[in-house]
């Protein structure tokens, strides 16, 4: 860990907030992608069964 001196709080806060936001964005994107794909598969299967 580098010695951040008197600015440690602002530097660490910057990294923490940014990494948190990026991870949340990636997580939500993958979660929604999976959910929407499953929903489309379900609707398409229903449509095929009905003919």
């Amino acid at each position: 860990m580098p010695d951040l001196g008197k600015y440690a709080d602002v530097v660490l806060s910057s990294y923490a907030v940014s990494i948190l936001l990026i991870v949340a964005l990636v997580g939500v994107s993958f979660w929604r992608a999976r959910r929407v794909k499953a929903e489309l598969d379900r609707v398409e299967t229903r449509g095929t069964r009905r003919g």
């Binding site: 600015y7 910057s14 907030v17 940014s18 929604r32 929407v36």
Partner: protein
Amino acid sequence: MASIWEYANPVKFIRTTDRLLPWLSAAAVVTLLVGLVWGFFFTPDDYRQGSTVKIIYLHVPAALMAINAWLMMLVASLIWIVRRHHVSALGARAAAPVGAVMTVIALVTGALWGQPMWGTWWEWDPRLTSFLILFLFYLGYMALWAAIEDDDTAADLTSILCLVGSVFAILSRYAVNFWNQGLHQGASVMRAGALAGDTEERVSNVFAVPLFVSMAGFALLFIALVFLRTQTEIRARRTRALMARERMG
């Protein structure tokens, strides 16, 4: 040679991006990690700014992507207006949350950097103010998409909003050149003198090289997320269409 407009076909777009996404995602993660770890752990403090210079590896790439995301949305919106390709409108929609998050990162890291350097978290400086307005445009753009049920109408109206907002995206980039006032410094990383090797203008390579790696990581992350989210929007649109057909039949 295949025309770029072939990718306006949703099936072809999904098939192509499905092949690219694993590679893009891996490249984004590796590049971003290398840039940030290098910047945080292996660069020295600046002689004036101390360790706060390490914020540059987040602040500059995020600000760059916040503006570039809106410019990508502008191009996609223009393609929608002129050629009516749904994939381009959905691509713009997919990019908006990514751009909004980049704008938040730029604003938050800017405030955290500004406090010890300028003695204030916020100042109504031309660049900061235009960036805040850009963020509000992102929120407005996403809210407009969510508020309108008909996809084509939503795409039309959000495209117009995107054209208007582009003024602020450009202002965010060039505000410090238009108005020679405010706290925020002018461009120093990509300035002509800096690239030409002028030592007065130049950001030292010790800081510049990891910064460029981090910028590449943010750019790759943006592209990967926009591909993934555009696929999602295409599938969501198809689901809505099929469900509407079911209701009618």
